[in-house]
């Protein structure tokens, strides 16, 4: 187990280096710099600003400077949020996004997994059709449409829930529900497929034939085994939540990573773009490592192969 973790960490370093380098190249070869939008600045000041942040040096030199700082854990400074380092901004934004993401994922699991299990157990019946219809709806509605609808109904018409910013627990409800939609639908489809596969196994028939009730068979024998593939999609689920956070944090004005990423791209705030991208990459690597570990833990057959 420990060997696997160490192997994963060693593997992650080159991957992060590639992500950092590609993003660096991508944002630097674009015409236009971070100070272009400040129209009233005289050229001398822009030259001074560029000199201060080493933006006047050749790109390869900037790259080496960046990697040097990165190795020390310094993600650089923001060019737009004056006097704030990228580390500061991320330290504020990351917990917000983490809260939102965790709550949404929990919600998605609580809704998606039972929905998929019900659909599979009642395969071909009314319940299945309804559950699958709902899950197809869930993957077909863009996040901004869900967000706009919820805001319109609960904040504008009914005035029961607040919208925007990140202050009280009530502010969490609408964004979390919006963000949970698509992973819940994804999980429902996955759980259904997984349960359908398990139902046909011999030991399920054995459990039934020894007189176990339908309910017990489903809970103790089917669902437990069909959760293995569900745990192992944490990687794609993290990707879905990150993608969703771009939209959700944008429409609810939540000061999280997704929102800072979007504004950083708009402002060409180089170091902030790189910093957020790297944190997303680290998150995905952690999620995928966890999946590998979970596999070994849940499925003994995987351990023998090692």
């Amino acid at each position: 187990m420990l060997a696997l973790i160490i192997k994963r960490i060693l593997l992650a370093i080159p991957v992060l280096l590639v992500v950092a380098s590609l993003t660096f190249v991508l944002v630097r070869i674009v015409p236009g710099g971070p100070f272009d939008a400040d129209k009233n600045l005289p050229p001398e000041i822009i030259a001074n600003l560029n000199a201060k942040y080493h933006l006047d040096r050749p790109v390869p030199e900037q790259y080496l400077l960046y990697l040097g700082r990165l190795a020390q854990g310094d993600l650089g400074v923001s060019y737009k949020y004056v006097n704030r380092t990228v580390n500061d901004i991320l330290a504020d934004a990351f917990p917000v996004s983490l809260q939102l993401g965790t709550i949404s994922l929990t919600l998605a699991v609580l809704v998606g997994v039972p929905l998929g299990a019900i659909a599979a157990v009642c395969r071909g019946r009314k319940e299945d059709v309804i559950a699958m219809f709902l899950s197809t709806l869930g993957i077909s509605v863009p996040g901004f449409v869900i967000g706009a609808t919820l805001i319109f109904v609960f904040a504008i018409k009914l005035r029961v829930l607040p919208v925007g910013l990140w202050e009280s627990p009530w502010h969490v409800v609408l964004p979390a529900v919006t963000l949970a939609f698509s992973p819940a639908a994804y999980l429902a489809r996955l759980t259904r497929a997984s349960v359908l596969e398990i139902v046909e196994k011999d030991w399920v028939r054995t459990a039934r034939s020894k007189g176990l009730s339908q309910w017990n068979t489903v809970l103790k024998h089917i669902l437990r085994n069909s959760l293995i593939p569900v745990v192992t999609v944490l990687g794609p689920l993290t990707a879905i939540v990150i993608t969703g956070s771009f939209v959700v944090e944008y429409i609810y004005a939540i000061p999280g990573m997704g929102r800072f990423f979007i504004t950083a791209v708009m402002n060409r705030d180089y170091d902030l773009i790189l910093g957020t991208t790297l944190v997303f990459a680290v998150l995905l690597i952690i999620a995928n490592t966890f999946v590998d570990l979970a596999y070994q833990f849940l499925d003994p057959r995987m351990r023998i192969e090692d």
Binding site: V15, V18, V19, T23, L26, V27, I29, V30, M132, F133, T136, L137, I139, S140, V141, P142, G143, F144, V145, A148, I151, F152, I156, S182, A185, Y186, R189, L190, A193, G235, P236, A239, I240, I242, T243, F246, V247, Y250, I251, F261, I262, V265, M266, R268, I273, T277, F280, A281, L284, N288
Partner: protein, 298 residues
């Protein structure tokens, strides 16, 4: 973002008239097929310059921000432009983006996956390792970063969508080829001394086509969703370009006072994406030899 289950696709499902007959028996998929057909016809006519509506998409009037009425079915925007006409006009861009992305995914993904799967061995490992890493990144993140470089025009969006969308197809085609290439009929073709080219394009590809088409059916809606999401958060197309995404983005700003401006474009995105997803599900069931067996045994 891909929300298709990564379940193994059935191998060697023949694509013939019986598929159409089976689609007809799945009501959601059959209805979806008609809706997609209708929307594509509207988009095509709009492309050829036919005026389908009473108003032109950019014709302004003094009737600002009117709600839906007999005159303006879906109301008007802040410049008095008829929303229905703009949605019909926007269909061509949204549908074109979806279909072009699927075409790019088909061409690049099939060639890459076919090469990787047919050659196998070290080349295959090397070719797929890169795809695996890129595939695990969120599509939208990659698209936004590519968009920084390419700008926010239609071509930039198309390239960004094309660059991320082929990887799923490539993985699928590779998996199919790896499975198929040890089948007896491929061995027979080899024994006849057929060229590698012939084996790939005449024997392997036609047999892998079913699952590829299913995957492409899911590529179209995910491209439409990605474009509209990018445009919505202000990193995709921007006016004067007119897609369902930019229309929804415009409508968002007046959600409180004029909800119809975001409601109708969203409705069209939703119906189109939903139809493609239902069609994809239906095609997958229709092409799956296991369900075919199940149906016949009754």
């Amino acid at each position: 973002m891909e929300i298709v289950e990564k379940a193994p696709m059935p191998v060697a499902a023949p694509l013939d008239q019986s598929v159409m007959a089976r689609i007809k028996r799945i009501p959601t998929a059959y209805l979806a097929l008609w809706i997609i057909g209708a929307i594509c016809v509207v988009a095509l006519l709009s492309f050829m310059g036919c005026s389908l509506c009473q108003y032109s998409f950019d014709q302004t009037s003094s009737d600002f921000l009117a709600g839906p009425s007999a005159e303006h079915w879906m109301g008007t925007d802040e410049l008095g432009r008829d929303l229905f006409s703009r949605i019909v006009y926007g269909a061509r861009l949204s549908i074109a983006i979806g279909l072009t992305t699927a075409a790019v995914a088909f061409i690049i993904g099939t060639l890459y996956g076919a090469l990787s799967g047919y050659l196998g061995g070290k080349v295959d490992t090397l070719m797929m390792r890169g795809v695996d890493i890129a595939y695990s990144l969120p599509d939208l993140l990659v698209m936004i970063l590519i968009g920084v470089l390419l700008g926010r025009g239609t071509v930039g969006i198309l390239i960004a969508l094309g660059l991320v969308s082929w990887m799923g197809t490539a993985r699928l085609v590779r998996a199919q080829f790896l499975q198929l290439k040890n089948e007896e009929f491929i061995e027979a073709a080899r024994a006849q001394g057929q060229s590698g080219w012939n084996i790939v394009f005449k024997h392997l590809l036609p047999n892998a086509l079913g699952p590829i088409i299913v995957a492409l059916t899911f590529t179209v809606p995910s491209a439409i969703l990605s474009e509209s999401t990018l445009s919505f958060i202000g990193l995709g197309l921007s006016p004067p370009a007119c897609s369902w995404g930019t229309l929804a983005s415009d409508g968002w700003r007046s959600l409180r006072a004029h909800p119809h401006l975001i409601f109708f474009p969203s409705l069209f995105i939703f119906i189109t994406v939903l139809s493609f997803n239902f069609l994809g599900d239906g095609l997958r069931d229709a092409l799956d030899p296991r369900t075919r067996l199940g149906k016949n045994s009754h």
